[in-house]
Amino acid sequence: MGKTMAEKILSEKSGQDAHAGDIVIAHVDVAAFQDGTGPLGVRQLQKMSLEEVRARRSVLFIDHAAPSPRKELSNDHMLLREFSRKTGAILSEIGEGVIHQRLVESYARPGDVVIGADSHTCTSGALGAFATGMGSTDVAIGMAMGKSWFKVPETYRIEVNGDFTPGVGSKDLILYLIRMLGADGATYKALEFGGPAIDKMSMESRFVLSNMAVEAGAKTGLIASDRKTRQYLKARGRVKDWRALAPEEGAKYERVIVVDASKLVPQIAFPHTVDNTKDIDKGRGTKIDQVFIGTCTNGRIEDLRIAARILRGRERAPHTRLVVVPASRDIYLEALGSGLLDIFVRAGGIIMGPGCGPCVGVHQGVLGDGEVCLSTANRNFRGRMGNPDGFVYLASPATAAFSAIKGQISDPREFFARRQRKKVAKPGKRGRRGRKIHR
C-alpha cells in the first residue's frame, strides 16, 4: 500500500513504518517560536534547567509586536534575545518578517518535520514539509530534545483542476474549501493539495493554501515538492535543500475532494468565523473603514504585485484607510525596488515594517468600536484585531485592493474584465493616461 506525504515523512523521521493512526516519536528538523509564544516556552525550559537546543534549526522570531509598542513586550523580546545568546538558537529580529514567511524563505526543507508555537506553522507544508503548529511547551521540548511525538494523521486529498478566472486565486480557493469543510471539518487530518491547477500554481499561491489548512482544523497542509519548489529554493540560494517528494502510488485517502478552479468566484469570510464564507455577491456594498494587505497568508510579493496593479494611478476611498505590510524584509526590498511601495503610498496607503502588522490586534491598526476591516489575513474571530466590537472580513489581495478604491466590498473581476475589454478594443494602442498597456 502506498503512503500519503504525511505517512512518508513521519516514517522517515521516526524510523518506523508509520501509517495513519499510529503514534510516533519523530526527529524535529526545525523548531520555531515567535514573540507571543516564545517567552512561555523559554520559561518552561528554565524550569527544567534544560536551556539547550537540539533541533537541526531552532529559530526565535520577533514579529507579532514588532517594533514593541509596550515595555512588557520589550522585556519579552529581551528574554528571547538572551535565550538565543545562551543556546545558539537563531534570532530573527524585528524587521526580518513573519515567522512563516521566514521559515519557507530560509529554514524549512522538503521532507522536514517543522514544529512552531504558532498555529499557521502549517504554511511550510507547501514546500513538502510535515509542518504543524503546537503550544509553547510542546515546541520547547521539541527544540530542546530534537524530537516530538505525533499521531500520524489521515489525509484528505484536495484535487484541483481547471484555470482560475482573472481576479480569482488561491485565497478564494482555500476560503471556498474551508466554507465547504467547516472550521472543524478536517480536525486532526492532513490536507494534501494536488492536481493540474496546483502543479501550475506559483509557490506564493501554494503557501496561501497550506497556511490556512488549520482554519479547517487540519494539522498540516501538504503539497508535493516539484520543479516549482526547486526553482523557489534555488532563487533563495538553497538548491541543495531541495528534494523531490510526492505521495506514493496507491496512497490511502480518507476523503478525496475535487474542485474546478474555473468555477470559483471571489470569496468573502464574514465575521466572526473563517467558515462563515460566502460568494462575494453577498458582501458587495459593505462599507469598509480599513483595508489591510499583508500577513503570513497574503503579504508576499505576488500579493503586493496584484494589489499594486489594481491601485496604480488610483486612490483609496476617502473613508477607507489602507495598511500594507510586506511579510518579510526581502519582500519589502523587492516591493521597494520595483516601485510597488510608491504605488501604495500614492494611493493613500501606509506601509508598515515587515511583521504581523495589525493581524493579532497588538498594534498598527487596531479597530474602533463598530469598525469594519477587510483583511487579507487568515482569521476574523471576534476581538482578533484588538477590539471585540470590531468586524473583520477576509478576502484575497485583489478583492482587498479593489475594495479599498471603492470604499466597500467590491468584486475584482470587474477590474480585470474592464482591462480585458480595453485590450480587445485597442490592440497595441496606448492607455487613457498615455501609459503603455502591459500585456
Binding site: 480536525t187 488549520v214 482544523g217 476581538g383
Partner: protein, 166 residues
C-alpha cells in the same frame, strides 16, 4: 479524583481569541493578571463571578484558532476544574493536556448554566446533579492520559527522561 462545581455555559466555536484576547498580548508574561481576563470576550462576567472548581461547558470546536498555550493555562489558573465540550480543536486539546487542564468530550446539550456537576476523571463519568442524569465522556487517548496523569508534559519528561507514551 472527583471534581465538583457549577456549570458555566458557552456556545460553539469558542476561539483562543475569545479565551485569551490579543489586546492583552502584553500580559502574557504576567499570567495571574492575564487570568483576570479569561473568556472575557465570550462572557464579560465569567472571570469575576466564577468560583474555584466551576466547569466551563461548551459546544463544538472549543479552543479553535491560535496555538497560544496561555488559553488553557489561564483557564486552569482561574480555578476551572475541567472543560466539557462536544468537541475540541486539535492544538488546544494537546496544550490543555500538556498544562494539566482536564478536558472531557461529551454531549453538553444535557447541561445548563448553573447546573451542579460532578466529574470522575478516572472513569470519565459526568453526573449532572441538578438534572439527575449521567453522561459518559469519550476516553482520552492512552498517550495523552499518560501525560495528564504525570501532571503535564514537563512533569512527564522529567519523570521518564523522554516520552513514554505507550
Amino acid at each position: 479524583m472527583v471534581l465538583r462545581g457549577k456549570a458555566w455555559k458557552f456556545g460553539d466555536s469558542i476561539s483562543t481569541d475569545l479565551i485569551c484576547p490579543g489586546r492583552f498580548f502584553h500580559l502574557r508574561s504576567n499570567l495571574p493578571e492575564l487570568a483576570k481576563h479569561v473568556l472575557e470576550d465570550a462572557d464579560p462576567n465569567f472571570a469575576s463571578r466564577m468560583s474555584k472548581g466551576d466547569f466551563v461547558v461548551a459546544g463544538n470546536n472549543f479552543g479553535l484558532g491560535s496555538s497560544r498555550e496561555h488559553a488553557p493555562t489561564i483557564i486552569k489558573l482561574a480555578g476551572v476544574s475541567a472543560v466539557l465540550a462536544k468537541s475540541f480543536a486539535r492544538i488546544f486539546y494537546r496544550n490543555a493536556i500538556n498544562v494539566g487542564l482536564p478536558l472531557l468530550e461529551c454531549d453538553t446539550d444535557k447541561i445548563e448554566l448553573n447546573d451542579e456537576i460532578e466529574v470522575d476523571l478516572a472513569t470519565g463519568m459526568i453526573k449532572n446533579v441538578s438534572k439527575g442524569i449521567e453522561l459518559k465522556a469519550h476516553p482520552l487517548p492512552k498517550a495523552m492520559l499518560n501525560i495528564l496523569n504525570d501532571g503535564g508534559l514537563l512533569a512527564h519528561i522529567e519523570k521518564h527522561g523522554g516520552f513514554k507514551l505507550d
